[in-house]
């Protein structure tokens, strides 16, 4: 069997370290440190927001003060000092750039280094014949550039920073924000509702198939800064969009908080495909530094035959705490969750999904692949709930865990609640290690132990990797190799 070119490249890149760890010296406009009603007002004023949104933020903030930090997840970290975080940091610029050419060249340089094209004629590196991808680049607290906007506008697709959507399409934002993840939802989502600074907004009108992939690229740059972005995607009846999300951060020896909220609204016959490659800085091998990634993602299938698909590759972050969920309200609606979570060194990941079946004939699929190496702890935590009215609903879940090394942990905590006689739920989970035979076989074919491991792990993840859009699949495959670097021997 010939070794495919990709595999060779992927194996070659195994020796790369975290290559997004550089710090860019970009002058920033920062709010005073700490959190108070004044900071919430400050952010709102900076964004020139209408009164209703400020009120909403303040309601969230006041509610947040009454809440306690959740401790149920299988992650351990020192208490976060919420007064020691900058809640707003924006790259300084004199005037709003009118076109991409006016964007601070240093910023463009950052995204170039990350391999994210902010020039419209370019396509993502390394993939020939790839489609164009519209990118919204979020740097610390603000969106710095959004590409291909005119092209999208022609189709009626709105793709812009959410702060801009608040100004230009207030009726849409007001109608949908908080409708999937209410401001009272949970500790971090409530915090986000109070202090969110930017994020992407996307509206696909009735019957439109979005002509290109939409993508948001998140970058944390400033020190001691939390990133609180909010993404809202609305797919009207019969529409389709594929959305990608990527994230990186510099290597710092402090922990930074990233608490995002993503809300998806899917109407009748519409479909959203949401893919994430999460590559925040994971900290060093001793667990110093890294991002705390506490994210609330939820999709509501409001109409019949609505479909949502979450695909995630989680390789970064010191701590991940994330459960992309699907509320399958409309009859015949479909929810999918494909996940690869890799935890190496001292990383901790507690991730999974929730499938709430409310409508008739709803179906959901969960494929979760967890890989633990080094001293990492990896937990799958998921819920499948069949409501009383979820007639003939179906769920199929597969959770596989792979252990590399004897100091790591792999845990599976599924919750399965069935109130519907005609519903069918199947759940299976396995945990095992890479077998000596497989390793031996690869090695006797001339691959080194590390290369063999990367190859086997990629095979283990294949089911999920195949669900990623092409542009991401290549990157994700490489990432799988890099994340496991140093875990063998």
């Amino acid at each position: 069997m010939a070794i495919r070119q990709e595999t060779v490249e992927q194996v070659a890149s195994v020796s790369d370290k975290y290559k997004y760890g550089f710090i860019s010296d970009i002058e920033a406009d920062t709010a005073p440190i700490g959190l108070s009603e004044d900071i919430v007002r400050f952010i709102s004023a900076k964004k020139e927001e209408p009164e209703w949104l400020l009120e909403w933020r303040l309601k969230a903030y006041r509610h947040w003060l009454t809440m306690v930090e959740p401790e149920w997840a299988n992650v351990h970290y020192p208490k976060i000092d919420f007064q020691d975080i900058y809640y707003y940091s924006a790259p300084k610029q004199k005037e709003k750039p009118k076109s991409l050419d006016e964007v601070d060249p240093e910023l463009l340089e950052v995204y170039k280094k990350l391999g994210i094209p902010l020039k419209e004629q370019e396509v993502l590196a390394g993939v020939e014949g790839a489609h164009n991808v519209a990118v919204d680049a979020v740097f610390d607290s603000v969106s710095v550039a959004t590409t291909f906007r005119e092209r999208l506008e022609k189709e009626g697709v709105i793709f812009c920073p959410i702060s801009e959507a608040v100004r230009n399409h207030p009726e849409l934002v007001q109608k949908y924000i908080g409708s999937v993840v209410p401001y009272t939802d949970n500790y971090y989502a409530t915090l986000n509702s109070a202090v969110f600074t930017d994020g992407s907004f996307c509206y696909i009108p009735k019957g439109v198939r979005c002509p290109m992939e939409l993508s948001t690229y998140f970058r944390i740059n400033a020190a001691q800064t939390g990133q609180f972005e909010r993404t809202l995607i609305i797919a009207e009846e019969g529409s389709y969009v594929s959305y990608l999300e990527g994230c990186t951060a510099p290597m710092r020896d402090e922990n930074q908080l990233h608490a995002a909220v993503v809300e998806l609204v899917i109407m009748k016959d519409a479909e959203i495909k949401y893919s994430t490659v999460q590559n925040w800085y994971p900290g060093d091998e001793n667990g110093v530094g890294g991002i705390y990634n506490f994210v609330t993602k939820r999709a509501a299938c409001r109409g019949e035959n609505a479909k949502v698909s979450w695909t995630q590759v989680e390789t970064g972050s010191a701590i991940t705490w994330k459960y992309p969920s699907c509320i399958l309200q409309g009859d015949n609606s479909v929810g999918e969750f494909y996940s690869i979570a890799i935890a190496n060194n001292m990383q901790q990941a507690d991730t999974g999904t929730k499938m709430i079946h409310l409508g008739k004939n709803t179906s959901s699929t969960i494929i979760s692949k967890g890989i633990s190496a080094g001293k990492a702890q990896n937990t799958y935590r998921g819920l499948v709930r069949m409501g009383r009215k979820a007639e003939n609903a179906r769920n199929h879940t597969v959770c596989d865990s792979l252990l590399i090394g004897d100091k790591c942990g792999a845990h599976t905590v599924p919750y399965i609640e069935n109130q519907s006689r005609t519903a069918t739920i199947e759940h299976e989970a396995t945990t095992s290690k890479v077998s000596e035979e497989q390793l031996f076989y690869c090695q006797q074919r001339g691959l080194s132990e590390e290369e063999s491991m990367a190859l086997i792990v990629n095979g283990f993840c294949k089911e999920v990797l195949q669900k990623l859009p092409m542009e991401f699949a290549v990157e994700a495959q490489k990432l799988v190799g890099i994340s496991l670097e140093g875990s063998v021997g």
Binding site: W72, R388, S401, L403, I404, G405, D406, K407, C408, G409, A410, H411, T412, V413, P414, Y415, I416, E417, N418, Q419, S420, R421, T422, A423, T424, I425, E426, H427, E428, A429, T430, T431, S432, K433
Partner: protein, 429 residues
């Protein structure tokens, strides 16, 4: 301090008066143990649904206080169906000599009642302090009245099963029984136990049995439990088992009774080559609630655990299965498998399942599977097309669903007994 639930408060208030008449009240060691149990219980209270381990089982109906019973007083003792030469019976929480037959036990098997042991100050078998985080176990330590103390000498093999019956009948005033059983099997001893819990319908009571089992090297305990409490009873049972090298623990729990029941098993595997086999079936109807919670801890390398649980839920019955397999660091070469399946026969029935794996070693093989759903329509249709009427066809399918778990019962007599019990239950479907 926050307020205790009404029932917990009753226990705390009653303790000093009651402890004077409980077994072993003359022994300072027993008194100290009871006291530590009460302190523990008072600090915990009955768990509410915010306690993660209890999120699917709501104890409010119990903790607001059980109504006194209006069942016919002194109703006849339900007869034992399982036949064996060795029978030990407890009626309303106390050993009943007239309903027991213990004279045929071979040498080396010592079977006494806990009350007798406590009265002579022998509390060593229970340790010195209640440091349990389970409230009902701490409550049991404070109020334990009686139970089985079984000791098998090394190498003894008991020919026939021992039947232990816990029977609750109305009329004595007591509506709670805190039974404490202590079972110890010496090296290579083999014993089969059949534990039966029964009550007269219409009698409301709270049964809170706790069983501590220690198996020495190479010992084997086949432990079968049939829970057929009264339809108004609460049954919260805890069984803790420790396995030494090469020991085998086989447990099968068949549950059909109680308004609300929870069977919690914690197995600690402390030796290589040991095997823990936990199986069970629960058949529930009406508004019954049945919770099975297992924790299997693999604390050393090279051992095995297996579990199969099946449930049938009719009417508005609720089933719960929570099963955790834990493998600690360096416990390599372990295999842990678990399967939970539930069959819903009615639109109002429900099931909640939480199988959990916590794994800290890499050279292990673990799996769990869970499924729930209704009877297979195609299979039903197939049988009907062969001329079998629907009712019979349904029964055949349910029978088949239960068959593979019943087959796990390695004792032939017990398997037949349990098959008869399930067949009788299914006649009413």
């Amino acid at each position: 301090m926050k307020n205790l639930t009404p029932l917990a408060q009753t226990y705390v208030d009653r303790f000093s008066a009651a402890s004077g008449s409980l077994p072993g009240h003359n022994s300072p060691a027993v008194a100290a143990l009871r006291k530590s149990g009460l302190a523990r219980f008072a600090s915990l209270d009955f768990p509410g649904r915010k306690v993660e381990e209890w999120r699917f089982t709501n104890l409010t109906a119990l903790t607001k206080g059980i109504k006194t019973t209006d069942a016919p007083a002194n109703a006849a003792l339900p007869a034992a169906e399982f036949e064996t030469p060795h029978v030990m019976t407890f009626v309303n929480g106390r050993f009943s000599e007239q309903d027991s037959r213990l004279d045929r036990l071979p040498d080396g098997v010592k079977l006494t009642s806990l009350a007798a042991e406590l009265d002579v100050g022998n509390s060593a078998l229970l340790g010195t302090e209640a440091d349990d985080k389970r409230a009902v176990v701490a409550l049991n330590t404070a109020f334990m009245e009686d139970g089985v103390v079984l000791n098998a000498a090394p190498g003894v093999t008991l020919d026939a099963p021992i039947l232990i019956r816990f029977v609750s009948v109305a009329g004595t005033g007591a509506n709670a029984h805190h039974m404490r059983n202590v079972i110890h099997l010496g090296e290579k001893a083999t014993v089969t136990l059949v534990e039966e819990h029964a009550g007269v319908d219409g009698h409301a009571y709270f049964a809170n049995p706790v069983t501590d089992i220690t198996l020495d090297k190479g010992a084997r305990l086949n432990h079968y439990k049939y829970q057929a409490e009264s339809a108004d009873a609460f049954h919260l049972a805890n069984t803790d088992t420790e396995l030494a090298e090469g020991a085998v623990y086989e447990n099968f729990a068949l549950s059909t009774g109680a308004r609300l029941s929870r069977n919690e098993l914690e197995t600690r595997i402390l030796g290589g080559g040991a095997e823990s086999i936990l199986n069970g079936a629960y058949l529930m109807r009406g508004t019954q609630h049945c919770d099975t919670t297992t924790i299997t801890r693999h604390l050393v390398p090279e051992n095995v655990s297996r579990q199969i649980y099946k449930g049938i839920l009719d009417d508005e019955a609720q089933g719960v299965f929570q099963g955790k397999i834990q493998i600690v660091p360096d416990a390599q070469q372990v295999s842990g498998d678990q399967l939970s399946r539930a069959l819903l026969l009615s639109d109002r029935a429900s099931v909640a399942v939480k199988p959990e794996l916590e794994i800290h070693a890499d050279d292990v093989k673990c799996s769990h599977g869970a499924s729930s759903g209704e009877l297979d329509e195609d299979a039903l249709f197939y049988l009907q097309s062969r001329g079998i009427e629907e009712k019979t066809a349904r029964k055949m399918l349910i029978d088949a669903f239960l068959a593979d778990v019943l087959e796990e019962v390695s004792n032939d007599d017990v398997r037949e007994y349990f098959a008869a019990v399930t067949a009788r239950w299914m006649d009413k479907v």
